[in-house]
Amino acid sequence: MNALIFNAPVLLIAIPLLGAFAVPLIGRISVPLRRIFTGLIALLTTACAGLVAAHVFTSAAPITYVLGGMATLPLGMHFPIRIILEVDGMSAFMVILTALVLITAIFYSFPYWRRRSGGNMYEALFLLLGAGIFGMELTGDLFNFFVFLEITSIAACGLIGFRAWQGKSQEAAFKTMTLYTVSGLFVLLAIGLLYGEYDGLNIAYLAAHIGGSMVDKIALGLLLTALAMKAGAVPMHMWAPDAYGEAPAPIAAVLVANSQASLYGLFRVLFTLYGLTISVTALGWILITLALLTIFVGVTMALIQSDIKRLIAYGAVSQIGYMLLGVGVGLATSAGHQPFGLVAMQGGIFHMINDAACVGLLFLSAGAVIRAAGTRNLNRMGGLGHDLPWTAVFFMIGSFALAGIPPFNGFASKLMIYESTFRYSPILAVIAILGSILLLAVFVKVFQSAFLGPRLGAPAARPSGWMFAAMGTLAVVVIAFGLFPGFFVHTIVTPAAKALWMGRDAYIGAVMGG
């Protein structure tokens, strides 16, 4: 058992990665066997995620895993040369978030994709995407971060354009791939600049030596912009509605976790890699500005959409703004360590998992709605609540949670963001609350259009068992996180927030010693 716990970080990447390559082979033998295999891989990965998280949250310091050796610093050397995974509270938090989305999305996918061809590649790319996201969250090495970023880009774009018979899917995949590639190149250029200056790629090593030179600033600018774009921050968000809108419904849910992995990368760069070497107040205000734009433009664009998935996609974009706002205020106040800064960080980070659960639930519900209605156009839907009462309930739970209605989870995290950002600057809280009100209006529109009113056609097909179970699981998570926020904030959110806000020295020390 100890060996399993010790090796859990690398297994969390290796199991879905090897599973991805095995799936097409098993699929040639038997399709049901392939599904069982993929389900087992997903369950094993989730178990590893649980082990990693439990280990980290009960440890006083970040845990490290050295590939090909035991010591982070080989004997007699002053810099790490091996590939190192480093897991602190923030990484562990992200691992839980990703595992939750992956396990529900894959089980939803089985009946959802049953009648389509290409299941081998679908499940292989799905597992590859999961491995890439976990890799981004666990690695302690900047170059490996880039490699995993590219793995997620390739797998995500393959899945966005998976409906090869639809021109729009191909267009969305092409646009996303092009933007992902350019942002990936910017990340690589930034890593090259840092490597040229410090002769190292390990994040802890670089953090210990980074000094704030002009080269460091150029690298920071490249990393910040590229990762904010991949997270979907306005005005670099335009790929997101295309991608989320055209991807199969369960993939859209996983793309949310993928965007949040980029957001994690951004936070890791700002707090751990650079720390206080460059004015955190100015950097915090860059995040806050992006946040306000993201909230307002995201929600107002959602209001005028008539395609249900593009509407949810714009809603998801607006929620990235809340995370940026909370963490931006936390960054801006990190030098003075004002208490409300930590609450803002907690709110922003708590909103990440809340958003993943409720946007995931909305995308999965939208998948069931589109299947039943045979269209994505809200103007051609109506009365689906007669035939899909439980889907209507799940959609309502997701909508209320995302709009920040008590007692659902979105309210708890948004309340922390509103009240802490109000302490920093009241106008921030005003814009954030306005965004939530508009988002509620957006989902009232969807609910009225899709579920209420008379039946418009023949009775609609109900979602099958696994689809129902996946939506039900996310709905339970949304309610549980909403009813018991204190438990989750105390157990997983606060260690994550503290790991970023005040854990830089511990992160460096875990690799460099001292």
């Binding site: 912009t225 860059i286 009113g453 204190g486």
Partner: protein, 112 residues
């Protein structure tokens, strides 16, 4: 264990839920105190439409685009501009990306 500190105060969803259920209970009690002598499944329980022929229910459904038209019409200047920016053209996506990169470079370059 279920409450959180928001910086200004405490948020306890269990207390809120209990209060909400209490208010809901009072609402049902008031509703239950209403008249029960109406005839179920008769015209007494249908919407009253004076004289006109009842239209097809499907035509009565208010669909997505009809909601908030007043709001979007009032914000036409904003929506015209914001729709213009969302061209769907890949080169425009890059223009925004490079524009933000330029602004970030300027801001970070000015920092000490």
């Amino acid at each position: 264990m279920n409450a959180i500190n928001t910086g200004f105060g405490i948020w306890s969803p269990v207390v809120w839920t209990l209060l909400f259920l209490g208010v809901l209970g009072i609402g049902f009690w008031i509703w239950g105190a209403g008249r029960k002598d109406y005839k179920k499944n008769s015209d007494q329980t249908k919407p009253f439409l004076a004289g006109n022929e009842e239209p097809d229910p499907a035509r009565l459904h208010v669909s997505g685009d009809h909601l908030y038209w007043g709001m979007t019409a009032g914000l036409r200047a904003y929506y015209d501009r914001i729709r213009e920016w969302h061209t769907g053209v890949l080169s425009d996506y890059f223009a925004w990306f490079i524009g933000v990169l330029a602004v970030v470079f300027i801001v970070i370059g000015l920092l000490r």
